[in-house]
C-alpha cells in the first residue's frame, strides 16, 4: 500500500445518513486517538477516483442503510483491492435483508419470531383488507411491522390492534417496498455485539434496552435520556450465556467477519429470539456497540484499530 492512512467511510444517501455521519466522526476520532492517520470520506462520485489515486491501508465502512450495509460498497472495495473492516459483500447482502437472514438463522435452529413477508404489490393485487385479515388471523396481535431492509427502527411500528394495521403498513412502505410482519415477542430486549480482535470472534456484554415509551424507535435511540440501558443486561448467568451464544452463532452462520451486532429478545422462560443482525452497527454517543465495548473494559479506539489490523492482515493472507 502506498499509504498508511485509514479512510472512514460514512454518510451516503440512505435515510440513516445523519446517523452514519455521526458514527463515522466518532470512529475517526477514536482511530486518531490511537495515532492513526485518518481521512473521513462520503460515498460519492469522488470516492473511487480518490481510492485509486491514493489507495489507503484500509477502509472502515460506517455506512448505514442500503449501499453501505447491503454489500455493494464492499464489492466495490474488493474490485479495487482495498482492504476493509467487517464482513464481505455476500454476508452483508444476506444479513441486510431481514427475511433472508431470518431464514438462515432459522435453518441453524436459532429461534426467530414467526412472520410473513409482503411486498406492497401484494396488497394492491390481492386487496389490503383481505391480506391484513389473513395476517391477523395467522399471527395474531400484537405484531411488529417493519421494512425488510433498513435500521434505526425507521418505518417500524408495534401494532396492538387491527385498526392500526393499515397505518403501520403505510408507514413501513414509506421506507421500503417490502414489509416484514412478525409476531411480537414480550421479553427483555438486548443487543449483543460480536468482535474479532485477531483471536476469533467473541461476544461483548449484552446491552439491555429499556425505552421510556416502550418502543426503541428513532427518538428513543438517538435522544440521550429517552432510553435506559443496562450493561451488562440484567440477565441470569444462564440467560447471559444464551444470548452470547446466539449472537456468536448468528455471526458464524451468516458468514460475518470482524464486527456485528445481533438484536435479540429474551423471553420470560429464558429462551432467546433473534430479531435481526447489523453488520455496521452505530457508533454514535447513544449507540449500543460503544456501550458494550466500554462495559467490556475496552477502548473504542483500540477496538477499531484492532479491527483495521485484522482487515489488513486478512487482505495480505488472501492476496
Amino acid at each position: 500500500m502506498s499509504s498508511q492512512r485509514i479512510v472512514v467511510l460514512a454518510g451516503g444517501l440512505s435515510h440513516e445518513r445523519d446517523v452514519s455521519v455521526r458514527s463515522g466522526r466518532r470512529v475517526a476520532e477514536a482511530l486518531r486517538a490511537q495515532g492513526l492517520d485518518v481521512e473521513e470520506r462520503d460515498m460519492d462520485a469522488e470516492l473511487i477516483p480518490s481510492l485509486v489515486a491514493d489507495p489507503p491501508a484500509c477502509v472502515f465502512p460506517v455506512l448505514h442503510g442500503a449501499a453501505g450495509e447491503d454489500g455493494a460498497i464492499r464489492d466495490v472495495l474488493d474490485m479495487l483491492g482495498v482492504p476493509y473492516v467487517g464482513s464481505g459483500p455476500t454476508p452483508c447482502r444476506v444479513s441486510y435483508d431481514k427475511p433472508v437472514a431470518k431464514a438462515i438463522i432459522d435453518a441453524a435452529d436459532i429461534a426467530t419470531p414467526e412472520g410473513v413477508v409482503l411486498p406492497h404489490a401484494s396488497f394492491r393485487e390481492l386487496g389490503a383488507q383481505a391480506v391484513l385479515t389473513a395476517v391477523e388471523d395467522s399471527l395474531g396481535l400484537p405484531v411488529v411491522v417493519k421494512p425488510t431492509k433498513g435500521g434505526s427502527s425507521l418505518g417500524a411500528t408495534i401494532v396492538r390492534n387491527a385498526a392500526e394495521l393499515p397505518g403501520a403498513m403505510v408507514t413501513c412502505f414509506s421506507y421500503g417496498d417490502t414489509a416484514l410482519i412478525e409476531r411480537y415477542i414480550e421479553g427483555i430486549e438486548v443487543a449483543v455485539s460480536v468482535i474479532d480482535l485477531g483471536e476469533g470472534p467473541f461476544a461483548l456484554p449484552a446491552v439491555e434496552i429499556v425505552p421510556d415509551g416502550g418502543f426503541y424507535d428513532y427518538a428513543a435511540r438517538y435522544t440521550a435520556g429517552m432510553t435506559e440501558f443496562f450493561t451488562p443486561a440484567r440477565l441470569t448467568a444462564e440467560a447471559s450465556a444464551a444470548v452470547a451464544a446466539v449472537a456468536l452463532r448468528a455471526h458464524d452462520v451468516l458468514g460475518l467477519r470482524g464486527i456485528s451486532r445481533s438484536d435479540l429478545i429474551v423471553e420470560q422462560d429464558g429462551s432467546v429470539q433473534f430479531l435481526e443482525v447489523n453488520v455496521a452497527p452505530g457508533m454514535t454517543e447513544t449507540s449500543l456497540f460503544p456501550q458494550a465495548v466500554a462495559a467490556a473494559g475496552l477502548d473504542l479506539g483500540e477496538v477499531c484499530a484492532s479491527l483495521v489490523d485484522g482487515a489488513v492482515e486478512l487482505d495480505a493472507e488472501l492476496s
Binding site: 435515510h15 389490503a128 392500526e164 403505510v170 414509506s174 421506507y175 427518538a219 435522544t223 435520556g225
Partner: protein
C-alpha cells in the same frame, strides 16, 4: 416490555438498580426542553444537502448572485479605514451610522423612525427573540398566522409561550379570523401579548397582505390593545418592483418592525434590526447587551460600507430577477405535474410556495419516500405549534437552478402519485398520530445550513 428474567440458577450478579441514560444532566434540564428529541424527519434533511437530491427544503438565499469581488473590495476598504472600530466592542444598540442607513431603507416602506428607535441585532431572529424575551412570561399567549415561520415558533417555544394560530387565505391573515381568535381568548380570560405577522411574501405560505387588509388588521389589533410584531425580511423582494408599505408606517406605537439584511445582502452577515418606540427600544437594548454585549461591529461596518459605496438597490433588483425566474419555474412545473386535488399559493415575491396535497395525504409521512426519490421539501407540520399542516408542504425555490426546480417538482409529483396509490390500496389517511414529527415543530424542519 423489559422485566428481569427470573433467576434460574445463580443470578449473574449484575442486576443494577439503575441503568444509564447516557446523559448526566437529565435532572437539570429546564422544562422548556421537553420535545427537543431526535427526529427521523429532521435527520432526513442531511440527505437533502447531497447534490443528487433536488432540495426544495431550505431557505438559503441565492448569494451566487452577489458580486464577491465587490464585496471583498468593500470589506478591504472598511478594514483599511475603520478596522480599529470593526474589531472592537461597539454600542449595544448598534452602529449609529448603520442605524441611519437602516432608517433610509425602511423609509422605502413608509417607515420613518429616528435612528435612536433602531436596535441592530444579530439577524432579525435575534430581534424576535429579544422582543419575546421582554414581553412574554411562560404561559403567556401570542397570536401567529397559520402557518407561521418555524424560526419564530422555536423562539416562542423556548420562552414557553402558547401560540394560537390564526387562519390565512391567499391574501394572508384573515381579519375575521383574528377577531374570532381575540374573542375566544377573551372568553378564556386571556389577553395575547402580541400578534406576530409576516405581511409580505410570507414564510412559509408565500402570500402577502394587501394594503387594505393591513389597515384592517391594525385596526382590530388597536381596538383590542394588542401589540403587532411585523417581521419583514422579504419586503424588498417583490417581483413587480413595488415595495409594500409596512404596517409600521400606519402605527408607530402599536407595531414593532423587524428587518434583516439576510435576503437583500447576505445571510452570513447576520445583521438585522428592530424598529420600536422608545420605551421598548430601551429594554431591547438592555436585553441585547445581556445576550451578546453588542452586535458584531465587523458585520455592521461591512454592510454599512457596502450600503454607502455600492448600488445596493441594483443588487436587490438582481436578486428579484433571480428569484422571479425560479418562482416561475416552480409554478409552471406545479401546474404541469401536480395531481388533481393539490393546490398551491402563487407568491408575488420572496422564496416560498405553500402546497396543499389532495385530501387524506400526509406530507410528513411522505418525506422518506421523497428522499428515496431524491427530492426534499419541508413538511407543513414544521410551521404549526398544534400539529396542523399534515397535508401541506413548503417548497423553497430560492436556491436551485430553474431546471433543477422543474426536475424536483417532477420527482415530487411521482412521489405524490405513489403515495396516492398507497392511500387507495389501504383506504386510510396516512400517518399515525404521535409518530412522525411528534416533538417540537422545529424537529421536522431543517437547520439553517440546509440548502
Amino acid at each position: 416490555m423489559s422485566t428481569p428474567v427470573p433467576a434460574s440458577g445463580d443470578p449473574s450478579g449484575s442486576m443494577a438498580a439503575h441503568g444509564s441514560r447516557l446523559d448526566p444532566h437529565l435532572a437539570r434540564y429546564a422544562a422548556r426542553t421537553h420535545g427537543m428529541t431526535a427526529s427521523e424527519i429532521r435527520a432526513l434533511f442531511s440527505v437533502a444537502s447531497r447534490p443528487e437530491v433536488v432540495s426544495l427544503a431550505g431557505g438559503m438565499p441565492n448569494i451566487a448572485a452577489l458580486p464577491m469581488d465587490v464585496v471583498a473590495a468593500s470589506v478591504a476598504e472598511m478594514l483599511s479605514k475603520r478596522g480599529h472600530v470593526a474589531l472592537q466592542y461597539g454600542s449595544g444598540q448598534g452602529d449609529p451610522i448603520l442605524r441611519e442607513q437602516i432608517c433610509e431603507i425602511v423609509g422605502l416602506q413608509g417607515v420613518h423612525p429616528h435612528p435612536d428607535d433602531v436596535v441592530v441585532t444579530v439577524g432579525s431572529q435575534m430581534a424576535l427573540d429579544l422582543v419575546t424575551r421582554i414581553f412574554c412570561d411562560p404561559g403567556d399567549v401570542i397570536l401567529a398566522e397559520a402557518p407561521s415561520y418555524v424560526g419564530a415558533l422555536g423562539v416562542f417555544r423556548a420562552y414557553q409561550v402558547d401560540v394560537e394560530h390564526v387562519a390565512m387565505d391567499e391574501h394572508g391573515l384573515i381579519p375575521e379570523a383574528l377577531r374570532d381568535s381575540l374573542i375566544a381568548l377573551a372568553a378564556q380570560g386571556r389577553a395575547p401579548k402580541f400578534l406576530y405577522t409576516i405581511p409580505s411574501f410570507h414564510n412559509p405560505a408565500g402570500v402577502s397582505q394587501p394594503a387594505e387588509r393591513r389597515a384592517e388588521i391594525l385596526q382590530i389589533a388597536q381596538s383590542a390593545g394588542v401589540l403587532v410584531i411585523e417581521d419583514d425580511p422579504y419586503g424588498l423582494l417583490g417581483f413587480d418592483g413595488q415595495i409594500p408599505q409596512a404596517m409600521r408606517a400606519q402605527d408607530a406605537e402599536g407595531v414593532i418592525y423587524l428587518g434583516s439584511f439576510s435576503k437583500t445582502f447576505a445571510a452570513g452577515i447576520r445583521v438585522g434590526w428592530a424598529v420600536a418606540p422608545h420605551g421598548v427600544r430601551e429594554k431591547l437594548t438592555l436585553a441585547a447587551e445581556a445576550a451578546v454585549l453588542c452586535p458584531p461591529a465587523y458585520s455592521q461596518l461591512t454592510i454599512s460600507t457596502y450600503l454607502a459605496t455600492q448600488p445596493w438597490m441594483d443588487q436587490v433588483k438582481t436578486f428579484r430577477e433571480v428569484y422571479r425566474e425560479r418562482r416561475d419555474a416552480t409554478l409552471e412545473s406545479l401546474e404541469q405535474h401536480m395531481p388533481e386535488g393539490a393546490t398551491w399559493t402563487k407568491p408575488d415575491g420572496g422564496f416560498y410556495v405553500w402546497v396543499t396535497l389532495p385530501p387524506g395525504m400526509d406530507a410528513t409521512a411522505m418525506l422518506p419516500r421523497a428522499i428515496t426519490a431524491r427530492v426534499a421539501y419541508v413538511p407543513g407540520t414544521a410551521f404549526y405549534m398544534d400539529g396542523q399542516g399534515r397535508r401541506s408542504m413548503r417548497l423553497s425555490y430560492c436556491f436551485p437552478e430553474p431546471d433543477r426546480i422543474r426536475e424536483g417538482v417532477r420527482r415530487l409529483a411521482g412521489v405524490i402519485e405513489e403515495e396516492l396509490e398507497l392511500i387507495s390500496t389501504f383506504g386510510t389517511a396516512i400517518g399515525a398520530p404521535g409518530t412522525h414529527g411528534a416533538g417540537a415543530p422545529e424537529t421536522t424542519a431543517p437547520g439553517p445550513e440546509v440548502m
